[in-house]
């Protein structure tokens, strides 16, 4: 009887430990997901900023300015 009891306790203890490990793994995964999510958001944000910068650099007025500067440089002896 006592042996069975000890055996049950030991098995239950291991099972609980395993459950704790699974729970911890779950928490770690959620944490990683949250971190990744933030990174994705930050990257998207950086892309948005870049898009605007590219658009500003390629706007008709900016291009006209660049072309006129280039032309002036070529006209110089």
């Amino acid at each position: 009887m006592a042996r069975k009891l000890i055996f049950t306790i030991i098995v239950l203890s291991f099972a609980m430990l395993e459950l704790l490990v699974v729970r911890q793994a779950q928490i770690n995964t959620v944490h990683s997901m949250a971190t990744l999510h933030r990174k994705i958001e930050a990257n998207n944000e950086a892309i948005n900023v870049l898009k605007v910068q590219i658009e500003e650099a390629c706007s008709p007025s900016a291009l006209a300015k660049s072309i006129s500067t280039e032309n002036e440089l070529h006209e110089q002896p």
């Binding site: 949250a34 605007v52 706007s59 008709p60």
Partner: protein
Amino acid sequence: MSNLKLTTRISHVAVLFICIVTLLMGSTLYKVFTLKTAPPIQLIKATPPATSFSKQLATRGQIIDRRGRLLAASRVGHKVFVDPALVEDFSAISFELGKALSIPPAKIEQQLRSTPGSRYVVLKKLVTPKEEKAIRALKHRCVGLEERLVREYPHGDIGGSLIGLVGTEHTGLAGFENRYNEKLTGTAGTFVRQRDRKRNTLWVSPSDYNPKTDGVDLQLSIDIVIQDIASSRLLEEVQRCNAGGGRIVVANPITGEILAMADILNPREGWSQQPDDPNRAMDVRLGRNRCVTDPYEPGSTFKPFIWSVATQLGKAEADEVLPTPLNGPYRTSFGRSIRDVHYYGPASWEKVLVKSMNSGMAIVSQRMTHKELQEAVSRFGFGESTHIGLGGETKGIVTTPANWSDYTQTSVSMGHEIAVTPLQMVQGFSAFARDGTVPQLQFVLATDDDVMFVRSALTSEIAAMTRKIMGKVMTEGTGQKSQSELYDLFGKSGTAQLPRADGKGYFEDRYIASFIAGAPINDPRLVILCVIDDPDKSIGHYGGVVAGPVVRDVMDQSLQYLGVPPSVDYLTTSSD
């Protein structure tokens, strides 16, 4: 016997072990329970909340032009706020914040002290990335960075009045930002996070997570390059003529898409926008878009509409010679005197349009019944909305049948006693560039699945004939100074007197000059209208002289940009 004793002892030890383990587990559970249900005050103070509510900002949809170029986009920026209740040393924090934000520390300190009891004092509504980094480095509990959406317009003022702008709450206030606000606006997301002591995310329950929905992107029919070409050329002409303002519309007559639209006002003494527009004084983008809202008298640019309908109704043949005067004004049957700029004597119905003869238009208009002329006006869409969907659109001014007199009949045939918006004008004129049908104008890019709503105004033969004769306007008539060296244009100039602000008649020597044209004549790709308000008469006031060159230049540059091969052998022309 000894074995029995040993077994008994082991049993006792086991029971003792079980008791100890049970006791330990029980006490642990009890502690957890008490910590959960009634934690000590010191513990509450020492640990941050285990859960936190977070809001995910939904990005507003982008506005892009027909080629996918970004016209308006949102990004996440930050504003800096301080919780004065948590500040221990106002002078020290003000000094540090002043250094990070480049604001005088004394000003910050005054701001923090001037709002006693407040827990939220915004120091700067939008910080630069460098400032944001400096603020984060401070690591003060009393200083916070709050996310906010920032709307960027990469092309600056180009097309600004069309695109509009958003307010502080990121909702559209004017232009397309306002018109499509619902579509562009997203829904913010929310979620509750379980956090550890270091505020790392431990858990997000699926039931506590409502993901954000970003706004839908909007693709316009506008082409930002053509928009730039049109608006900069218009501005140049308005300044050259010292005009009160100018308007230009560029459209694709086949699809009805508006490619560019600009409305410029020149703050010049002696000319003011009627009616007044105080919003425009605050921000041009908040003001009325006069291409949509403000009707003007089209003058002779209206003649092709009446000319084509009269021809279709058999009121005159193109080669029929009319009794137009050789010198002096023509007198109508009811005694009205009609003047021409030049007198040519008896002229063909075709020449009436080419030379823009008021007398010829008056003669043929008198052959039409009032109803026929009223229908001629309405079949091109004048007197009704274009249903383009922009706020404040007006229907123009068309005399009602009840008030329509013989005087109105002759006036309307010359483009007087009628007012149209530039949009209506472009829509109606598109019939000549097509098969006589009037397209539905649109600002949002048309897709192949879209059904094109059109109305029939003329037969295709009459539309083609009118177009051909308007081609002669450019080579032999009032549009000669606006003829392109690259493309065969068909068009018509117009010069109307400027109405007085008080509604009592017209100014004698102030005008509205306009010019409308399409090109290439054999396969029209664009229709352009330019209206110059009140140009300086000493510089020029005729539509063909003031507005025509704008249309020509914009047409040339836009068609070249669109890759349309020149229809005129310009190499031969230039070598001559």
